[in-house]
Subunit: 378 residues, 2 copies
């Protein structure tokens, strides 16, 4: 068993509150997933990430494959044990980072050859290899190996990229099904396995997105992601693609929009029926002084906060807003103190996770409620 997904309520707008049972955690959705690139949600100890209410975090396959290496992580019992994170995890396929971080990429139908951004060493990733790496890492959810279509991409480029992604999805799924029992915790968790999500691509072309979704649904993945968004396109297009694709995905399986977004975006998408989202924005922005509050965005470096003794967000009850002033947070940033990244990140994550908590609560009291939905077995 990979996952069990039970819809508890839906709203007229299409939003749904559900329970996603994964081998390491039962996740209440809609859910925001903090990014823990190299096995750490940057600058925040695991116990604090837990106390913030994070139910599932991401690991990046590309980074963990390069360092410390997936076989080392397998030998240590998988990613959960290695980083001491007992709750759920998801790994991406490595594709996005291969395309955004590495040098000298050469893409063929077979796979992609690239050079490590760390030491220039040469590596070859195929859908099968991505599956092997992700099975060794052992996150609860793995992602099919895809090519993230860049923006802008003309129609013929988007078509070509989509063809590749669909062929790779098929190969990812076949390889995953054959080898998923090799996940490090398979026997320890009573025969549990990972789940595999397919990724809808197709750029900003609605008909290509439709073709992509239909072909993936035919393959019968455990869940479906919408990829290739937040790659530079205007927000209206992001929304348009999500709006077009969501109705094409099975109602009874989790739907994941990758790499979004700003606070108002994640709230909007969750209310439209997106179940899962991840983004580096709250953590990365925090390290660069951009903080999200109920009163809007704050650049904590601004001189006007130099003697501001108010909490960062007076409406927030996170451990940072309860204890520290804007003046102190500014001081830490000005001095380059490492505590700056830690406190800023804690607040931004609290803010993002709080949004999802409020959406779940409002869906809970939504008048249009459904009986318990059908469950899927992955």
């Amino acid at each position: 068993m990979g996952l069990d997904f039970s819809i508890l309520q839906t709203s007229d707008a299409g939003g749904r509150r559900a329970q996603l049972v994964l081998p390491h955690q039962t996740v209440a959705t809609p859910v925001f997933m903090p990014v823990g690139t190299a096995g750490s949600v940057k600058a925040v100890p695991q116990d604090i990430v837990e106390s913030l209410g994070a139910q599932i975090i991401l690991g990046n396959t590309y980074h963990l494959y390069l360092r410390p290496g997936h076989e080392a992580i397998r030998r240590m019992g998988g990613l959960h044990k290695f980083i001491s994170w007992p709750r759920a995890m998801l790994t991406d396929s490595g594709g996005f980072q291969v395309f955004s971080l590495s040098d000298l990429r050469k893409v063929t139908d077979e796979g992609v050859r690239f050079r490590s951004h760390l030491d220039g060493s040469s590596h070859f990733f195929t859908p099968e290899h991505s599956m092997d790496v992700q099975i060794a890492l052992g996150a609860d959810i793995a992602m099919a190996f895809d090519e993230c279509t860049e923006y802008p991409a003309d129609r013929s480029r988007a078509e070509q990229s989509l063809r590749l992604t669909m062929a790779w999805a098929r190969r990812s799924l076949d390889h995953f099904r054959t080898h998923r029992h090799k996940v490090p915790w398979h026997y320890e968790l009573g025969g549990a396995t990972q789940s595999l999500f397919g990724i809808v691509q197709g750029g900003v072309y609605t008909d290509l997105r439709r073709e992509s979704a239909e072909r993936l649904v035919e393959m019968d993945f455990d869940g479906y992601a919408i990829g290739g968004l937040s790659v530079g396109e205007p927000r209206e297009l992001t929304l348009e693609v999500i709006d077009a694709v969501l109705p094409l995905l099975p109602k009874d399986k989790p739907r994941y929009v990758m790499g979004v977004g700003y606070p108002d975006e994640i709230e909007l998408y969750a209310r439209m029926g997106v179940d899962m989202m991840d983004c580096v924005l709250p953590t990365r922005a925090a390290r660069h002084a951009l903080l999200f509050t109920s009163e809007g965005r704050i650049n904590i470096k601004n001189k006007k906060y130099a003697e501001d003794q108010c909490p960062l967000d007076p409406a927030c009850d996170c451990m940072v807003c309860r204890r520290y002033s804007r003046a102190y947070l500014r001081h830490l940033m000005q001095c380059g103190e490492p505590l700056s990244a830690t406190l800023n990140t804690i607040h931004n994550l609290a803010y993002y996770l709080g949004i999802m908590q409020r959406v779940r609560t409002s869906l809970h009291s939504s008048p249009a409620s459904l009986p318990r939905g059908p469950s899927s077995s992955g």
Copy 2:
């Protein structure tokens, strides 16, 4: 009232367990004081520093004077409020950093002119100015403005430096006594004031150290520090100086050795009768992969820890050793993850604070025990 110091037990070796009542915290001594240079124990949130059992932390006057500025801190109610640290604090005089960090120093009898290491701006520090800055910061304990004699220093250089330090001690004390009521929390804490410690200098010349101690004791400070150690001299000389100076200091006042040391050193000095110590070593070494354990020092970058799933120190029950493996700590360091500094520092501080806790416990059960000692009013 600045402080109340009550000796609870002494050992034959001269060690003593005491209670040091300060305006913000009653401190059990012997005590190790983590360094929080710019108002942060680097990389560790205040609540964790508290949970580790830190009773008193240091702030560096030089850094806080330059950024955010002592007047800004005074306007915000003092350092305790600014950094949200409710327990005790001590500030150094700024002298050590003026001599070690700044450029173009020019020392006269009046004071020292220097350029900021941050922006090259010119500043002039006198004993009176150091007192004004420290009173504005409002730590529980302030230090007299001194010149930290370098090592090696020949006898005439050490004599000249000592003369300066003694004249500055007198001026520090006079100015402090006149102005100490201006500390930001004076009225809020029912008329409480800071305490001022004098600093014994004299290089490695025992007779100069004696002269320095005798003259300071005559001035009647609230406590006495031994400065000018850990500046490059061999350990045997450090020990020799401490051993020579301790008997010259009043038994009923706190004795503070500045800037020491390695774990075995702080234990040794505490057992000899040193009540207070501070050092950047546990925090700075942590950020550079050097970790202290019951099994000796560990360089966590070492390849042999790559798949070592043991806790850093199996005998330690700190939050790092309870949760994370050596392999993970090595991985964080290898990847330059900011969490590395946080977890390493937490462990090293737990180790240092644990040593002092054990020394206090062993003094508690020491057979040679004294009645409650005389108390001093600062």
